[in-house]
């Protein structure tokens, strides 16, 4: 009893799935082995993301400790490596509180709704050659659609908590997410134009040189926009500890809080994975048919380091600076990038509509010039907006004195 996956099946291109499917197919009926193989890969993905989130929480704390001239967590396990385990055990044994007047069902759904898009995002990311769970032909669109669920989850958290700080955090978070979604999508359009496909696997195979060089402006916009969508430190208004305590997850404790934190740390990794796939040529590198996953993980590590580095460096922005940065700085330069890329692709492509490596190098040269110029112009233009607010003049205490 052997089962064969038809070439029309959406999972036919997935090497890992086919191997498991063939192996299980000898023991089980075909429909069951299809489900079992999918379940195994899902287990791998979900647990991989959760373990990675735990590991990254330790790595980031160590790194930020080093940036602050501290050591960071180092007591439990070698180099403090078991610290995430201690954190999880602590959080599991904490009381699981639900505030009075909370919308109980929505309140319970939120941690899952936060974690789900993070895991779902990994479904289309190829770890190595032919190893994505699903090689969707609209992979980029899928990633963008799935990440937008987070804004709903954040608003659900803020609404269901029956807490004003949570509501403040949620409305800030949604404002940030909606604003930064636009430049992020615009920047990805440039990548899709150059690659000529929305499938993640095709984008990787199109990168004979990494798109970081071909699309520097798009990478910059995508990086900044993603770190805003992840609520990372320069843009972490939605969960600003010093202003609104913890924002939308103020009322969460115990396992729910652990899940939300896992979602936040895991989101950094999955966003890094998407960025590696789209801009850093994914799994390709020397010996990529065997060591593709090593290159992939190494590139994720580099990007995660940059995320921690940025977090350790910058102070939090004000909300008006944040939105001005999205609409007046990132959006114009992403539009410039999109137009420049469209013109270059139009003039450089050959008869079959493809670009070879020489064309990509030419585009890289032009785009670096465009990137520098537009950053210079819009950086000067936005300078006024991000200055500290002027003190109010003309109003003295005596004028509002009670008579």
């Amino acid at each position: 009893m052997s089962c064969v996956l038809g070439p029309d099946n959406i999972l036919h291109d997935t090497l890992l799935f086919r191997v498991i499917y063939d192996f299980v197919g000898h023991l089980l009926p075909c429909w069951l082995s299809y489900i079992v193989a999918g379940g195994v890969i899902m287990m791998l993905l979900v647990n991989g993301v959760l373990m990675g989130a735990g590991l990254f929480s330790w790595v980031e704390r160590r790194l930020i400790g080093r940036f602050h001239n501290r050591i960071g967590p180092n007591r439990w396990g070698p180099f403090g490596m078991l610290q995430p385990m201690a954190d999880v055990v602590k959080l599991i044994f904490k009381e699981d509180l639900t505030p009075a007047g909370a919308d109980r069902i929505v309140f319970m759904i939120v941690p899952v709704a936060m974690l789900a898009p993070v895991v779902l995002m990994m479904a289309v990311v190829p770890f190595a050659k032919d190893t994505a769970l699903a090689n969707l032909n609209v992979g980029v669109l899928y990633v963008l659609a799935v990440t937008s669920i987070t804004s709903v989850a954040i608003f659900m958290a803020g609404w269901a908590s029956n807490n004003r700080y949570a509501m403040f955090g949620a409305s800030r978070g949604v404002a940030i997410l909606i604003s930064y979604e636009v430049p992020v999508v615009m920047s990805l359009l440039g990548v899709v134009l150059v690659a000529g496909s929305m499938s993640m696997a095709d984008v990787v195979s199109a990168q004979t040189i990494p798109f970081l060089l071909v699309q520097p402006l798009a990478f910059f916009v995508f990086f900044v926009g993603t770190s805003a969508e992840l609520n990372r430190t320069p843009f972490d208004l939605a969960e600003a500890e010093s202003e609104i305590i913890a924002g939308y997850h103020i009322e969460y404790s115990g396992v729910k809080f652990a899940l939300i934190q896992a979602a936040e740390f895991g989101a950094v990794l999955t966003s890094s994975a998407v960025m590696v796939t789209l801009f850093l040529s994914g799994w390709s590198g020397p010996l990529s048919s065997y060591l593709g996953w090593v290159w992939f993980l190494m590139k994720i590590g580099v990007l995660a380091f940059v995320f921690s580095w940025v977090r350790a460096t910058f102070p939090r922005l004000r909300i008006d600076q944040l939105l001005a940065f999205a609409w007046k700085f990132l959006l114009p330069i992403s539009i410039i990038n999109l137009f420049a890329t469209a013109l270059e692709v139009y003039f450089l492509r050959d008869g079959a509509g493809t670009l070879d490596t020489t064309d990509l190098w030419i585009m890289a040269g032009i785009n670096f010039g465009v990137a520098f110029g537009s950053l210079l112009i819009f950086g000067t233009l936005i300078k006024e907006k991000v200055r500290p607010a002027r003190p109010i003049t003309g109003v003295t205490l005596s004028s509002i004195e009670v008579s």
Binding site: F67, H68, I71, A312, L375, L376, G379, T380, V386
Partner: protein, 219 residues
């Protein structure tokens, strides 16, 4: 331009990352502790203590309790009060060191430790047995003769009462220049101990033989 300061900031943090961390991993490593540190394990030498209760009188918080009873033999024969209670309630102690400054016989020293956490308030009271049995690592606070000898309370060995020396008369004259207080130095070091360090003997030799004010009081 907008981004240049940001790039500079990133460089600053990257430079700091390569530096050695300031953190001292406390139970394994310790910062160097000054010998004059006023720790909470009070060092008390029973051989020197006469039970005069100067420390209890000078304590601004009143947390030292001393109960004495008359000695069996006559004070004229060199005996002193017998101490029944010497309680220091260190849960309210602020470690000002006034009790140490007040002690006329150099019997009480500040300690050098700080790891005396307890789970109940009753255990925060150091009683006379605790004071007798504790390791004597006296702090050099208000004891210049000890500091001059180069004793390090954290690193050095426990000191016997004959080794800690007395405040020198010269030092008092230097400190209280002009006050001209004729205070005799009761030097019990001169009595009969050959083990005394040479560094301390110098002080005792300078001290004039006591004109026996203590015995006068006793009479």
């Amino acid at each position: 331009m907008y981004g240049i300061a940001m790039a500079k900031g990133l460089l600053v943090t990257l430079k700091n990352m390569t530096k050695k961390p300031f953190t001292v991993q406390y139970p394994e490593e310790r910062v160097k502790q000054h010998p004059r540190f006023r720790g909470e394990e009070f060092v008390w030498y029973e051989e020197r203590c006469t039970g005069c209760a100067s420390c209890a009188k000078y304590c601004p918080l009143g947390i030292i309790k001393i109960v004495t009873k008359p000695s069996e033999t006559a004070p004229a024969q060199g005996d002193k009060y017998k101490l029944e209670l010497f309680d220091i309630s260190i849960n309210r102690c602020m470690f000002c060191g006034l009790c140490v400054e007040a002690c006329p016989y150099d019997a009480l020293f500040m300690g050098s430790g700080f790891e005396q956490g307890q789970y109940s308030r009753k255990k925060m009271v150091i009683d006379i047995d605790h004071l007798r049995q504790a390791d004597k690592h006296p702090s050099t606070f208000f004891r210049p003769q000890l500091e001059d000898s180069g004793y390090d309370p954290r690193g050095g060995r426990p000191l016997h009462w004959q080794e800690v020396g007395r405040e020198s008369w010269q030092w008092h004259q230097r400190e209280k220049a002009g006050m001209n207080i004729a205070r005799p130095v009761p030097s019990d070091l001169l009595s009969d101990d050959p083990q005394v360090d040479s560094s301390f003997v110098e002080d005792s030799e300078v001290a004039t033989p006591p004109p026996s004010t203590t015995t006068e009081e006793a009479e």
